[in-house]
Symmetry: C2
Subunit: 304 residues, 2 copies
């Protein structure tokens, strides 16, 4: 099974600190990279954690608060300076291009690569992107500005050929594609070999859900039910649950409650308020509700 890797570039929130930069994550699957959010210093973290800017062609922005998108200008300037030619697609609420274009136009040459803005409607659940590796859907959230999470769903892969059987039946290469997709094999004499004898089942597709800034909301549960990994913001500890509600954020316990109710396999929490020096209490509080929780920290890498 090919790795489906997540790198946390930034695990902080509005006020970035030296240890917890603004929000940003990179997903890697089948040779492609996908970025979620891009706060200040994202390009620095990519260098630090050896996440190459090549093959990063799609960036998904959950909402237009500066700690989730203000690093785009620097990242794109650097891509231009490094001589990128491939277009870059950015999926975000419609206002982004108006904010970003004056900066990009100034800092990148006219003959630089193209940046394509895809407007997304954070209020709607819909597939906003798909390629051979995965699909990406929006997950409407409740925050102070239009905000959505993203669900990354790996596409169903092909069945795995059983090499010895393919050789035993002397099956021509031209037939293999259909067999990997489930076809039986019929030889020139009309003899049928059932697909189940030639292949083993495809890997179960993996799913990663990214829940950006949001008030506790159970409306997201049907979309994220049973995902392999849920990232859920946990800006506050329980002692500040009122502040969480006022600012339309979640606590660690609320993130864990969502994980539990959605029966996810693993929970990663992050987006810590800079008021807390230690993150261990976030882990303790979340684990009191949902055991399989880990803390996001800048530089954390995990696989689904």
């Amino acid at each position: 099974m090919e790795p489906f890797r997540v790198t946390i570039l930034g695990s902080g929130s509005a006020l970035p600190t030296k240890d917890n930069f603004h929000a940003s994550q990179v997903l890697e699957l089948r040779g492609r990279r996908y970025m979620i959010d891009c706060g200040e210093g994202t390009q620095i973290k990519m260098g630090q954690y050896k996440v190459n800017v090549s093959r990063l062609n799609n960036i998904f922005i959950s909402h237009l608060h500066s700690d989730h998108c203000i690093g785009l200008a620097g990242l794109i300037s650097t891509m231009a300076m490094l001589g990128r030619s491939e277009p870059l697609s950015i999926y975000a609420y419609k206002d982004l291009k108006n904010i970003l274009l004056p900066t990009l136009d100034y800092f990148t040459d006219d003959d630089s690569f193209e940046v394509i803005f895809h407007d997304i409607n954070p209020k709607k659940k819909e597939i906003v992107y798909e390629d051979k590796a995965l699909t990406v859907s929006t997950i409407p959230l409740k925050h102070r500005v239009p905000t959505c999470g993203f669900l990354f769903e790996e596409r169903q892969g092909e069945r795995h050929l059983i090499k010895q059987m393919i050789e035993a039946f002397d099956i021509p290469i031209r037939e293999l594609k259909a067999i990997k997709q489930g076809a039986d094999f019929v030889d020139k004499d009309g003899f049928v070999v059932k697909n189940e004898r030639l292949t083993t089942p495809a890997d179960v597709p993996r799913r990663y859900a990214y829940i950006s800034d949001t008030l506790y909301t159970e409306s997201i549960i049907p979309q994220i039910e049973g995902v392999d990994c849920l990232f859920h913001e946990a800006t506050f500890l329980e002692q500040d649950h009122r502040r969480a509600k006022e600012t339309l954020h979640s606590t660690a316990i609320q993130a864990a409650q969502i994980a539990k109710k959605a029966k996810v396999k693993k929970l990663v929490i992050g987006h810590y308020s800079a008021r807390y020096r230690q993150h261990k209490p976030f882990l303790d509080e979340a684990r009191s509700v949902f055991e399989n929780t880990v803390l996001a920290e800048d530089g954390l890498i995990f696989e689904l």
Copy 2:
């Protein structure tokens, strides 16, 4: 003598690395802070090096390449979030406001503090700012876009009162201001006490010159002659002197040649290209020409 402190927030160049962020420095004198340039992550470095955002009311931008100004949006957003009310003045080439305003308008509330853009003409040598502590003048440079350095000149302070003499002559408090400014004291019987008996000379005003991105240019020498400290960019080593010329940058040796010809007291070099992993060769090359050289590194603090 009150400290005149310089903190290097970022000592890198176009491609920021984890150890050398984009350009930014903060000067502190008589309770005020002044920022020079503001690359990506400047607000993070301020937190890391405990440089408070309060009493930072003036930011000087040498030129509009992203590594010198792209951190302004994040810094200003954060100031707004922290409830700043004082206006912030930014001195930069005229295009800055067009680049920055769409972002600021979006990310800061309408009732936030005012950001005042002061257009500077990088081609002219002129005083662009003055307060009770110092004056700031532009130093025209030669780079790919309109660029200037800045000369920070401490104002002549007042003479120092000799406490015993003031007491001995029983001089009223209301007279002290004039005496500190050089006046003699005349008592009610017309007896004159010469100022030299009552005071010691004022401190010699200090000068700091910041030479941002530039091709080697001796035209700056008259302005920076004899300064207490010269920061001069040194993007390249001698082995890449052709690349320095092509990109309108300087080598470490060229920075040192300027320091020597301008008879400055101390040279600080920085703005290293990310191609070099070690900076010791910059120091060695510069010191071969000008002994009193130090390397800028993120977090370096020194006093004039």
